[in-house]
Symmetry: C2
Subunit: 460 residues, 2 copies
């Protein structure tokens, strides 16, 4: 229970002390205080800097011991050599939660770094203090406009919880507006993956938890927590440092013990964690699981405006372990009626001939999509389209969002090819009903993992 | 030689007849004449429509036989049943090159379609007429603002030659402004991959040739031509219809004979063709080979602002068969001097600690990049960065373009992570010096193929 309270202080601080915050502000100074003010963080802020009386109009303190008010979270931003002393000072106050930002601990090549990390670790072990880091961006929470990141980041209220070992994930993903809540464990000297996961397991604002893991100490507790969490919300993991050379590099990045790949693969599988094969799949799965409902049936239906992309999709299905469903008699009849007589209706449904012979080019598309979304043989629907121009692209997005709103229990994904595809995929992401991909194979890969997790949820 | 002349008529027509062009213009009418005028095509245009005297201010003819001037290329846009008659009419004129746009030939499920294709095929075999299609967007050439596509497409003068069996590739790729020159073979009843390839082999405006293959008849001639072409310019291929179900679908998409995967893989390898594993790699390789020079050394150097992404990169190297080079003593010395003493300099080079301790945040990055680009042990350089905001992103693009301009013989690729990554990758693409990717693994995969082709070129 004590940990739960402290995790709340890390993730939802109502008051923060910025220990060692710089007097310098403006571009290139990476000033956390300036960032917090620009986000509109509403909590109390106590800057600590012995060489200033105020920074950006906020009163500063010469030492953390001078702050008499309650402080949920202290963020130490000094170079490494000052850190043990400052953590010790925190332990002499009521502060229970400390983020250590500096690099150069077990991630350093020298003995001093390892010694410094041991020192702060000892303080955490023997006092009421818990530490996130060192070598970290700290935490972020879009719901309260808070982040300890010294790089100013964009944040949106997404139902995504991120636990990572690099600040890169705070910067935001390509094709995805930014994180909802995040915790960068860095070297993870104290607060662990299991503790981060426990927070997100019980957090009603988090719908999907995503993990970037280099390594960890206590895998047993992690596996137990992950298995429990996966019963109620999807947990996606990217395990990096898989090659021998990468494992060595991870050792000097976050001082992580990497562990054998086979052991990791088995542990994640056993926990019900969805493992991404690379960074791109990690992003795709984060987007997919944060937007789509689970699949009630294992096979999918595809509507395509390009026979060529349809064939690429079938290849993708074979590669990713997903099957195309048989269309129901009703669906076939409806599609037959709108298509030229020479077209053999099958799945993927080539809707282009119908579009070319219809008085309204979009109507066959809308009717075809709705037919597949209503077909009880199909567990999800994938639409393959092309964004010829901005106007066409906007019309497609609207059509897709409307179809998804009308069939909220059936996952709808799309591949939007062409020059305006990127923009359309982002627009769909913002609307939060349909998930978009630039190629059919990526859409299929994500739906295959959605199918697997949907099946798993029934037995976990 | 006759084929070469006709391929020029298909790809660089100075005069075109639009047989069966609609009187209706404006949105949703897919009018080729309207498209041509909007592109600014400067050749002569002869619309043929017996029910109009002019369309968009251009005199129409009631039959192609009425046109007495020289016509390089006829584009037949009627429904399938009228096509044999119209091709026959063309054969009674001086026209030698005909594009048949309509669907419903061997791509149809009925016998009539197969019969119709046999008819036009017979005309091609027994006359001077050559046919592209049917079931095609035809051809496109950005250098003369020409395309027979009924979907209005964007075009840019890129040194890319596309041969495909679906119009989707005319619409433009995600992350890539549009095609330079393209030919959609559709059902490929007459003009073949080998003939398209021969055109691009000898075309000085084409630097890289990319092929989307569902199937073909004359693989022997194709392999011979591809091997010859690959000696002077890279040829990239995506072979689709690999699964049994996809092969069946390809049969009804373009009537293609698919062939066995092992045979195809061997044939492409033997030809020196670079085979893409999926649509995304196909796009990545198209972008990479159209921008980067060949690699003189097989190993690469990496500069990263994120240790975490560095580790992902090493994993990617192992997966794709690419190796990180040993840094030269000079490079190490220079990087050591700018970094904190605790940082162990190795490849990937973590440049972030130097950036955080330098008075100018960008200087270590510029110096580090230039050091690796000048390092003779390294055959190419990959930069891993994050686009924190628009301004930072623009600065990164400028820095990368300048570094590439200063080292034109060494390939420079980058992964630009974060919210402005997509836009930055496009901007770099437009500048045409550096190729950008959203994730490290995709950059590494593309560089691995660049390395393989660079080595192959010495023995082909």
């Amino acid at each position: 229970m004590q940990t739960a309270k402290q995790m709340k202080q890390f993730m939802e601080p109502q008051s923060v002390a910025l220990i060692g915050i710089s007097r310098y502000t403006g571009e290139g100074t990476f000033n956390i205080l300036e960032n917090l003010l620009s986000y509109g963080y509403q909590g109390k802020i106590y800057p600590v800097n012995p060489n200033a009386s105020e920074i950006l109009g906020i009163r500063t303190y010469s030492s953390i011991t001078e702050v008499t008010e309650n402080v949920d979270l202290a963020i130490i931003t000094t170079p490494r050599s000052l850190v043990p002393h400052l953590v010790r000072e925190c332990s002499q106050t009521n502060i229970q939660s400390v983020i250590v930002v500096a690099q150069g601990f077990t991630d350093a090549s020298d003995d001093e770094g390892k010694q410094l990390q041991k020192e702060i670790n000892d303080i955490a072990r023997t006092s009421h203090i818990r530490i996130v880091g060192p070598n970290t961006f700290g935490t972020a929470n879009a719901f309260i406009n808070f982040s300890s990141s010294f790089v100013k980041i964009g944040m949106e209220k997404k139902p995504i919880g991120v636990i990572c070992q690099t600040g890169v994930f705070f910067v935001g993903f390509p094709e995805l507006a930014l994180i909802g809540k995040g915790i960068d464990l860095g070297n993870a000297c104290d607060i662990s993956f299991a503790e981060g996961l426990e927070y997100f397991e019980n957090d009603p604002q988090t719908k999907v938890v995503v993990l970037h893991i280099e390594g960890m100490q206590d895998t047993k507790r992690f596996v137990d927590t992950a298995r429990r969490t996966a019963r109620t919300k999807p947990v996606v993991a990217l395990k990096t440092g898989r090659s021998q050379q990468a494992a060595k590099a991870a050792q000097s990045h976050t001082g992580s013990l990497i562990g054998r790949n086979e052991v990791w693969d088995a542990a994640l599988k056993q926990s019900g964690v969805i493992q991404a094969s690379d960074l791109e799949e990690f992003i795709d799965l984060t987007r997919t699981f944060s937007v789509l409902p689970l699949m009630q049936e294992p096979r999918i239906g595809v509507v395509t405006i390009s026979g060529g992309l349809g064939i690429v999709t079938i290849d993708g299905c074979q590669q990713s372990g997903l099957e195309l469903g048989e269309l129901s008699a009703n669906t076939k009849k409806l599609l037959d009626a709108m298509s030229p007589s020479w077209l053999n209706i099958s799945n993927p449904v080539d809707i282009w001939p119908a579009m070319m012979t219809s008085p309204s080019v979009m109507k066959p598309l809308i009717d075809g999509l709705n037919a597949l979304l209503s077909d009880e043989h199909l567990g999800a629907v994938l639409f393959l389209g092309a964004t010829f121009n901005e106007k066409w692209s906007t019309a497609l997005c609207q059509l897709l969002n409307e179809a998804a709103a009308d069939h909220q229990d059936k996952p709808l994904a799309c591949c939007l090819w062409g020059p305006c595809g990127d923009k359309a995929i982002r627009e769909l992401g913002d609307a939060g009903k349909v998930v978009g991909f630039p190629t059919p194979e990526r859409a299929i890969r994500a739906l295959a993992r959605l199918k697997e997790y949907s099946q798993l949820r029934r037995i976990l």
